[in-house]
């Protein structure tokens, strides 16, 4: 891969996390436990889709306009999506929605905080816009983790279960591969290896306030960045891509 292709792929990875999580969260509309929470979840979805749009616009520009942001979002086959497995996991219940958000937002605060210093000025500016939103997402997810963890016996059980169930998808967040290494060398990308300790501390602090326990060490799932997804992904995409695929000549 040349340096353009590497940067293009990097934008897709970041954009896909935002797109796929945005898609998952948008499934929650009109299903919230209270109206305020319904609005909070669609608000986070909106932030995510907006971030995906910015990253795909940039990817499209890098690619010389050969494909538009919408082509990138809607017209790829499953194995070309580069998101982490965590974000495609289904909305099993409200506790899973919160645990997924806690894990990803705690990671993104660190990741985008570091990307703000990127030598690539467009990525840096996307990062500084998005970091404000991510801080709110993390606050929101942490508050709910504490409420549910330190709530009733039922909610403690459900929150701990969600924390445990999703734990195996967190290792992938910190993996470095050749794309990450090359962009780190050129001062554009983020070094994720040192983030893991800070991330664990943050999660540990929230869980202990929530009277929950850190999951035990376990084998971590991986593959999203190489396009090897979970079974959930195909269903998510077939719904998301429906109109673009069924009416390929239409403009929306």
């Amino acid at each position: 891969m040349n340096s353009k292709e590497i940067l293009y792929n990097y934008c897709l990875r970041l954009g896909d996390d935002a797109l796929i999580l945005g898609q998952r969260l948008s499934e929650l509309c009109s299903k919230g436990p209270i109206l305020e929470e319904d609005l909070a979840q669609t608000n986070i979805a909106l932030d995510m889709i907006g971030r995906a749009q910015a990253l795909f616009n940039y990817a499209s520009e890098i690619n010389g306009g050969k494909n538009t942001a919408d082509d990138i979002a809607y017209r790829r086959p499953e194995f070309q999506y580069r998101n982490h497995l965590l974000v495609e996991q289904p909305n099993e219940d409200f506790a899973h929605v919160i645990a997924r958000q806690l894990y990803i937002s705690a990671f993104e605060v660190l990741f985008y905080g570091s990307l703000e210093n990127s030598k690539d000025s467009i990525l840096a500016s996307i990062a500084s816009k998005t970091i404000k939103e991510i801080k709110y997402h993390l606050q929101h997810a942490s508050d709910w983790t504490v409420r549910l963890g330190d709530g009733t016996p039922e909610s403690t059980f459900k929150m701990q279960r969600a924390i445990n169930n999703l734990w195996m998808y967190t290792g992938e967040l910190f993996e470095m591969d050749s794309i990450d290494d090359q962009l780190l060398k050129s001062g554009i990308g983020v070094d994720k290896s040192p983030l893991i300790e800070k991330w664990r501390k943050q999660i540990q602090a929230t869980l202990s306030e929530a009277t929950l326990t850190m999951p035990e060490e376990m084998f971590m799932q991986s593959g999203g960045k190489q396009g090897v997804h979970t079974e959930h992904m195909g269903h998510l995409l077939s719904e998301m891509q429906y109109l673009q695929r069924a009416y390929p000549d239409a403009k929306w």
């Binding site: 945005g22 898609q23 948008s26 499934e27 509309c29 009109s30 299903k31 919230g32 436990p33 209270i34 109206l35 305020e36 929470e37 319904d38 609005l39 669609t42 608000n43 979805a45 909106l46 889709i49 907006g50 995906a52 749009q53 795909f56 942001a69 919408d70 979002a73 809607y74 409200f94 504490v146 409420r147 549910l148 330190d150 709530g151 009733t152 039922e154 909610s155 459900k158 719904e239 998301m240 429906y242 109109l243 673009q244 009416y247 000549d249 239409a250 403009k251 929306w252």
Partner: protein, 316 residues
């Protein structure tokens, strides 16, 4: 005797176009009428999230998805201010939701129709929000202060929604044959229900009397419906949509469009629970309300524990 005196001075204030505020005296009938109307309005905003929410995950572009997400959020937000406005009259949100679930409180009949293709999202914004705005602009001058202020805020956002809805219809009508068919199909299904949103003809409307006297309602159903028709017909023609009413024609004598007969039989059947989605909409609301119970209980339990710990901390 005292109440009679109060009722007279209340009516004098209304006649002088003064706003009534939550702590002011108001006749019981006025309070009841407002609770019924405002809670119905709030429930309509919330139930209306369902047909549109049905398309968020299938919205065909990033821009369309963002616009739709933002619109539905606005609607939920309107639901919130309207619930708060109703709460100023001494009813809690929980009670209002119970009344919705028991069928005692209604929501706008329009949401008992399904959103079947993407153009429905255009038609809902353009026709349904378009009809709602005509009504809400008139309600900005309603006599109850909190309701009037909520309407002023809501109208600003609704006019965006209407434009965005029309933009979807424009794009569809400028698109492929299948897109044009979707747009016309949506038009055919939403036109008549949108006209019915203004309620029965003035001669048959059971609530008009007191509501007009109290200036809760400022213009009649038929007047508002006519305003909506007059502004919408040309927008439809401009993009090549056919209005599914063969009797619709311009009346040069009175400067309005005449329309065909509205099928009130269907309207009353749908109001009485026999529309295509009545059961689905209500069951959806009940299901997720019930599913969220453990979350609400946890939030309350956590709050109580926190208060207890803080007290304990203060006293030791």
């Amino acid at each position: 005797m005292k109440n009679l005196h109060n009722d007279e001075s209340f009516q004098k204030r209304i006649d002088a176009n003064e706003h009534v505020e939550p702590r002011d005296y108001m006749p019981e009938g006025y309070r009841k009428h407002l609770i019924r109307q405002i809670s119905q309005h709030a429930h309509s905003e919330v139930i209306g999230m369902q047909p549109e929410g049905n398309w968020i995950t299938r919205a065909p572009s990033l821009r369309a998805k963002q616009i739709l997400l933002a619109k539905i959020q606005d609607e939920g937000g309107h639901g919130l201010y309207l619930y708060s406005a109703a709460e100023t009259l001494g009813v809690s949100r929980e009670e209002m939701i119970e009344q919705l679930h028991s069928g005692k409180a209604k929501y706008s009949n329009i949401f008992n129709y399904p959103a079947l293709n993407w153009a429905d999202i255009g038609a809902i914004g353009w026709l349904v929000d378009g009809a709602a705005i005509v009504n809400q602009v008139s309600l900005q001058r309603t006599s109850y202060g909190p309701y009037s202020r909520a309407m002023i805020r809501i109208c600003k956002e609704e006019s965006f929604h209407q434009r965005q809805g029309y933009e979807i219809m424009c794009k569809m009508m400028a698109g492929t044959l299948e897109q044009k068919q979707m747009a016309q199909d949506a038009m055919n299904r939403w036109w008549w229900p949108a006209l019915m949103m203004f309620g029965p003809h003035d001669s048959d409307s059971p609530h008009t009397g007191d509501a007009v006297k109290w200036k809760i309602k400022r213009e009649s159903n038929d007047t508002l419906r006519q305003k909506f028709i007059d502004k919408t017909v040309q927008q439809a023609e401009l993009i090549g949509l056919v209005i599914p009413d063969k009797d619709l024609k311009w009346n040069a004598q009175n400067g309005h469009y005449d329309h065909g007969t509205i099928n009130w039989e269907e309207f009353f059947e749908v109001i009485n629970g026999k529309g295509p989605c009545n059961k689905q909409r209500l069951e959806h609301h009940k299901k997720y309300h019930l599913e969220g119970e453990w979350v609400r209980e946890a939030a309350t339990a956590h709050k109580m524990k926190k208060i207890k710990r803080e007290r304990h901390h203060l006293t030791h």
